[in-house]
Each structure stands twice: as C-alpha cells, then as structure tokens.
C-alpha cells in the first residue's frame, strides 16, 4: 500500500497528534501538508510560526520544517521579523482565533496593510480551546461559553472580510468540511507574493461542541449545511445570511 504523502511533511516522532478526538485542527494540518506536497515546496526553505493555543500546536512540532512557537498573539510580528530579515524563506503562520484575531488582532490588520509576503492561516474554532472554552473575538452572539454562561452579548468578528478590508492580497474562508477547497486556497496562498489570509473554520467538540450540544460529526454537518458560497451570499438578504458561513475567495 502506498503511504499517504502527508507523512513526508510531518515530524513522525511527534505523532500521534495531541489534539482531542474530533478536533478540526488536525484536518487543517493535513490540508497544509497536502498543499505543500502538491506544490512540491522545499520544506528546508519554509518557516512555520505560531502563537499560543491548541492551534499554535498545529505546526509546532508537527510540521517537519523550521518552526517558531512564540507568545500569545505574537506569531505575526515574529513572522514579520523572519520575512523582513530573510525574504528568501517562505513564511507561514498557523494559529487560533483567540491568538490571531483577539489578543493579536492589531498585528493581523497591520500585517495585512503592509502586504508583506506571508501566509496566515487562522484555525477559527470560535472559542478559546486550550484554556477551557472562554469567549473569543470570533464567538458568535448568543453562544454560551464558560465566561458567558448566559450567551455572548457581543458580535464576533467576521474575519475574512475584516482582513480583506485591511489590505490583504488574498483572502479565503473555508471550513474543515471543505477540505479540497481548503487545500486549493492554501496552495494559492503559498504561491502568492503578498499577504495571504485563510480563515479555516474549525470545530472544537470539547468546548464549543459541548456548549451547542454537538459532537464532531454534527459540527461538520453543521458547517456543510450552514455554508454558502460568496456568489450565493450576494443574492441573500442580511436576515437570510444570519448564522451562515460565507465561504470562498474574498
């Protein structure tokens, strides 16, 4: 039997993955590895930078390339340092919604504005997974978390359009259900020569799933049913779009 090519890009000694059963972050890791495989990129010339959170562990230590695991929210400025000092390297940030879009939100929009060539993948499970299910900057209104037991009273960020508006060259959003599209988007991002942002909507069955009463498979079904393409979304009213996930290239 032929071995899955993904293994060529993983640090075998770090397997099995440390994620909870059903976590979407492993799907994102797989999509990144497949995209690199399809592009036949040289892993010796890639640097993966992450912040703190479960999503910060997608690349560190699992991807078999140079990895830099930083502080909470600071992956993007660290990556900016790498890319500015070493333009010859392909710099990729993979981190969470709490990390990139909440504590590190200012770095995200400024990196998009500068349009420095790098790929940023936000594994957005709409919650702080690692610390036990607190509200993040992307938790939707009404969702109950351990810090909002009555339901979040604020809106969450609509990340992809936010980063687009900040000046990113390429922005896409898919979910862990849309793996093929996700791989294609990662490939486009990795080949790009500006700031590329991919919002990879992910599931956290342990915390978010528990709160909404869904297991991993149901969360994926939910992603499938609630997703609408950008094209379709353009024809829908704001009311019709409420609770939907707009996917595609922005």
């Amino acid at each position: 039997m032929k071995e899955n090519p993904v293994f060529n890009y993983l640090r075998r000694e770090s397997l099995p993955l440390k994620f909870c059963p059903g976590c979407g972050h492993g799907i994102i890791l797989g999509a990144v590895a497949r995209a690199i495989d399809e592009l036949k990129l040289d892993m010796d010339k890639m640097v993966f930078v992450s912040g703190i959170g479960c999503a910060g562990w997608i690349s560190s230590p699992n991807l078999n390339a140079d990895t830099l695991h930083t502080t909470h929210g600071r992956a993007i400025p660290a990556a900016t340092g790498v890319k500015t000092a070493r333009p010859d390297l392909n710099v990729v940030v993979i981190s969470g919604d709490g990390d990139l879009a909440t504590i590190g939100g200012n770095h995200l929009i400024h990196a998009a504005r500068r349009n420095i060539p790098m790929t940023v993948i936000c594994a957005n499970n709409s919650i702080y997974g690692m610390t036990g299910g607190q509200t993040s900057g992307t938790t939707p209104k009404g969702i109950k978390t351990v810090t909002d037991p009555q339901g979040n009273i604020y809106d969450g960020f609509d990340l992809a359009p936010l980063v687009k508006a900040a000046g990113a060259a390429y922005v896409a959003r898919y979910t862990t259900f849309h793996v093929r599209e996700l791989i294609r988007a990662v490939k486009t991002a990795l080949k790009g020569n500006g700031f590329s942002f991919i919002e990879a909507v992910s599931q956290c069955p342990t915390h978010y799933g528990k709160s909404v009463g869904q297991q991993a498979a149901e969360m994926l079904t939910f992603f499938k049913e609630k997703s609408v393409t950008i094209k379709r979304a353009k024809e829908m009213s704001p009311d019709e779009l409420a609770g939907k996930i707009t996917i595609g290239e922005f």
Partner: protein, 377 residues
C-alpha cells in the same frame, strides 16, 4: 550572488554625536542589520539614525505597530541569522517584557535599548530618570538572568553598544542597553579608533540547539535543520516538555548557569581615583558623570574620594564593590531613583551605604552630590 555592500561602519576619526546616535553607530559596527521599533521619546533618534544609515550597510528596518511586535520581530529576525536591535523607553519597555522572556528561554541574541525617562507610566516623557534598574532585572516573569549594560557618555554609548552585541552573541541572550535621557541626548565628541572586536554566534552544529554545553551552538532558519523553537519548556533538541519536571529544572538551571558561571566576564565597571580612596561613589549613567566631577572637586579639597562606574548593572559587579566595602569608610550611591542600586550595594557591603537620590526629573548636579557627601561624612 549579488554582493552586499560591506559594513561601512564609521571610519576612524572624530564625530559630534548624541548618545542615541552613537548607540546606533555602535550597533552597526557590531554587525546589527535588523531593527524593528516604535517611536518614543527619548529613544527615537536611535531608530532615525538606523533608518538613515541602514541603506549604506544593507540593513533591514521595519517600524512595527507596537513594542510587543518589535520585540517579536527581533526574535524572528535573529533566528534568520541577522543581528537585531530595538530601542524604546519605559512604556515601550514595559510592553516588551513578555517577549524578552521569550528571547531568554529561546536563547535568542538581540539588543534592547531602553532609554530611561521619568515614570511611572507616561510620567515626564522628555525628562531624565534612572528608575528602571529593577525592571531591567526582573521585568519579565519567571526565574531568569538578565544582562544589562549602562553607558555613561557618548563614547561609551558607542563602545558599549558593540560590547552589548558581543555579549548577546556570546551568551545567546537578549542584552538590555540601559541608557538614560541625559546620556542619550547629550552631544559629545566620539572618537573612532577602529580595531573593534566583533563576536558572532557560533553555528558549527556541534551541539543540539538547546543543550550540550552552557551556551549551545545556534543554527538559523533555512538550513534544513528543522528547528523546533518554542517558549514552552523544551529539551536540548527543542522538543516541548510541558510537564517533565527534570526538563524544567535542567533548562532553568542551564540558563542561570551560563550567566552566573561567567560573572567574571560579565561584571563590568570602571574605577576612577579609587587607589587610596576612603570614600567611594558607586553610580552609573548620567549620575556617574556628576559623581566623577564631585570626586575631582572633593580631591581638590584634600578628601580621598573615588568612583566606581557600574557598566554591567546586571549581573551587578558584586565582587569589586564587596572588596571596597572592606576598606573604605562609606559608599555613596548617587542615582535618579529612590535607591534601586543602593539596595544592591547594601546587599554586599560591610560598610555604611548612603543613597544620594533625586526624582524630580533633573539630573544630580556635582554640587548636590558634594553637599550630601559633606552632610554624612
């Protein structure tokens, strides 16, 4: 390969520069080729000098969105193999603390200039103070060592900036370059004689990146080493160890030992007229300049006074000061705070230690130091 223009550091000669500009020039001489910063008084001229000079030497500059980002960028650039620096003042230095800890635990060489100004908080932004002595030692959390170098003149700002980079490369640790507003804005003659020794990190691949000897060899990105660099506790290969008590103990102890066991090389100070002194001043930065003048005036009156100018604020030069405390009558510690360095001197001294302190955003004048000296003598 296209040739990069090579290091036209300042040519031999005499220059009229500010402390901030001299610090930037010293960094360039040391081989600094990456700078990330965010504007703040009274440190901004370090950045503008770098901006003006970097094109000539092939350096990379980026103005970041804040000081947290500047510090993060330094770490990324340094692992790219480029010597890196930032410059800030109190509010920015406070923001940098978490990532200074990241640089310490990942053993990332870089230089962080902190030009002290009046605090706390915004305080008096354009005015001098020396209130960050303890912060520069313990600003970031957890058990750790800090290497902190304080210049006291334009010449020393240049010379010691080279040294700060050398120590940072030699020990694979961030070095804090602790200036103060007065040193940073004073214009004086800088004499460049050439022959500066520049030390680069060792990248022989003879040790794993985080172990094998007190200061392990340091690889860089893009060499196919598949580096694992993390602010989490890690073993010698860089593998994360989140609950292995031995890994935690080994890492913290080695990071401590690489500084503690090299104190001889790290403890720096300058002596002035101390040979036969009955009374010595222990000071640093701009206050040491005033103390030096005070020593001369006291000597003219027949009083045997001397001065130890502390260069390595951390590790504090315990040895020399402990020795002096056995043979002098009193040690006076002039400083622009309410006793941050004095408590260090007290910790190791056998004689009386008297603070000469000022916190009104003005420097200590020699006459004030003499007055206080005479009150206690």
């Amino acid at each position: 390969m296209k040739s990069k223009r090579e290091a036209p550091a300042l040519k031999e000669g005499r220059y009229l520069l500010s402390g901030n500009e001299a610090c930037a020039e010293g960094a360039i001489t040391a081989g600094c080729r990456f700078f990330a910063g965010y504007p703040i008084t009274p440190a901004s001229e370090v950045m503008t000098q770098i901006v003006n000079r970097f094109p000539e030497v092939g350096g990379k500059f980026i103005q970041m969105e804040d000081e947290i980002g500047s510090m993060a960028a330094l770490i990324g650039a340094s692992w790219g193999g480029i010597k890196s620096m930032t410059a800030t003042s109190g509010p920015g230095f406070s923001l940098m603390q978490e990532n200074i800890g990241l640089a310490i635990i990942t053993e990332t060489p870089c230089v962080v200039v902190n030009v002290q100004r009046s605090g706390p908080s915004t305080g008096q932004a354009t005015k001098v103070a020396q209130g960050d002595i303890i912060q520069s030692r313990w600003g970031t959390h957890g058990e750790h060592q800090s290497v902190v170098i304080a210049p006291y003149s334009v010449q020393s700002a240049f010379d010691l900036a080279v040294e700060a980079f050398n120590l940072s490369e030699m020990f694979r640790t961030p070095v804090i370059f602790l200036m103060d507003e007065a040193v940073s804005h004073t214009r004086e003659t800088l004499v460049i004689r050439g022959g500066y020794q520049v030390y680069d990190r060792i990248n022989n691949g003879e040790t794993p990146p985080f172990g094998g000897k007190l200061v392990p060899d340091m690889p860089r990105f893009g060499e196919g080493k598949k580096l694992l660099i993390t602010g989490s506790t890690h073993d010698s290969k860089g593998e994360r160890k989140t609950s292995d008590s031995r890994a935690q103990n080994d890492l913290v102890k080695r990071l401590n030992d690489k500084i503690e066991k090299n104190r001889e090389m790290l403890e720096r100070y300058e002596e002035y007229r101390t040979e036969d002194a009955d009374h010595i001043f222990v000071s640093f930065g701009i206050s040491a300049r005033s103390a030096r003048e005070a020593v001369d005036r006291l000597r003219a009156d027949g009083i045997k006074a001397g001065l130890i100018t502390v260069i390595s604020v951390w590790p504090f030069p315990d040895g020399i000061i402990a020795d002096f405390s056995k043979r002098v009558k009193r040690i006076f510690v002039p400083e622009l705070n309410l006793g941050q360095m004095r408590t260090q001197v007290e910790r190791i001294s056998r004689c009386d230690v008297i603070g000469i302190n000022k916190v009104n955003s003005e420097p200590l004048y020699p006459s004030e130091i003499i007055e206080e000296f005479r009150r206690h003598k």
